[in-house]
Symmetry: C2
Subunit: 139 residues, 2 copies
């Protein structure tokens, strides 16, 4: 396993955090790179009476206040068949530079405060937290 800072390596030319850990495995003709990133993925269905825009504003304020949140993107499903999305409507993804940063985020007072609001707004949720394996990245 090697850690490299890749300035000119094509695979991460377009990414900001160019520290990858070669994962020792390769398959399908490509190499897997374990990005030095950790993703917090939240998929939800909000309660009917909830003003979703207010919740999203709250999330935006939270990630603006907490520097260790490296990125925050989200989306509202517009395409899936109901049997596949199973009532879930929104996905929220935050990334962190490391698992340690994510752990620090979990107990950050702003996060804990907002979590109460968020929890009260959701009808159902699936939450996954994982180190990012990047197989194909934008060229």
């Amino acid at each position: 396993m090697c850690v490299s800072v890749c300035v000119s390596h094509g695979i991460c030319r377009s990414l900001s955090l160019c520290v990858y850990i070669y994962s020792n495995t390769h398959s399908g003709g490509g190499l897997r790179w374990q990005m030095a990133e950790f993703t917090h993925l939240v998929v939800v269905k909000f309660k009917e009476e909830v003003v979703v825009e207010d919740i999203i504003k709250g999330l935006e304020e939270l990630v603006s206040q907490v520097d260790i949140v490296k990125s925050f993107v989200w989306g509202k499903d517009i395409e899936s068949m109901e049997m596949l999305r199973q009532g879930f409507t929104h996905a929220f993804m935050m990334t962190f530079g490391s698992k340690d940063d994510f752990t620090a985020f979990q107990t950050h007072p702003n996060h804990m405060q907002f979590s109460a609001t968020f929890s009260a707004a959701i009808e159902k949720i699936v939450l996954l937290d994982f180190p990012v394996v990047a197989f194909k990245t934008p060229q």
Copy 2:
């Protein structure tokens, strides 16, 4: 609404696809940018007897074969409480340059062929397809 190619704008300095559509809305002290990207998010629990590594190799082959898949990252949950991940273990995310590219992917013969294998391997699935709203991007 304006479309801009941002070479020097800080918010997308580190991203490869620097075409953003200003979404006309702002909140929380920040601006929302509608990226010219479409995400296909799949969250799954595999059947017990499945060799997950084989499925992942199949996915890697698929995204290697199909150029319109702009990026493919995935992860296996290592952190969530069971009540929050609800048995789901893996998240797979593919991005496309546009919804049209995603639509083309759905009927691509390689995708249709692999979908049969993938469907047979899963015990449960949640699938969301959405245009990406990027509120905070890596600096």
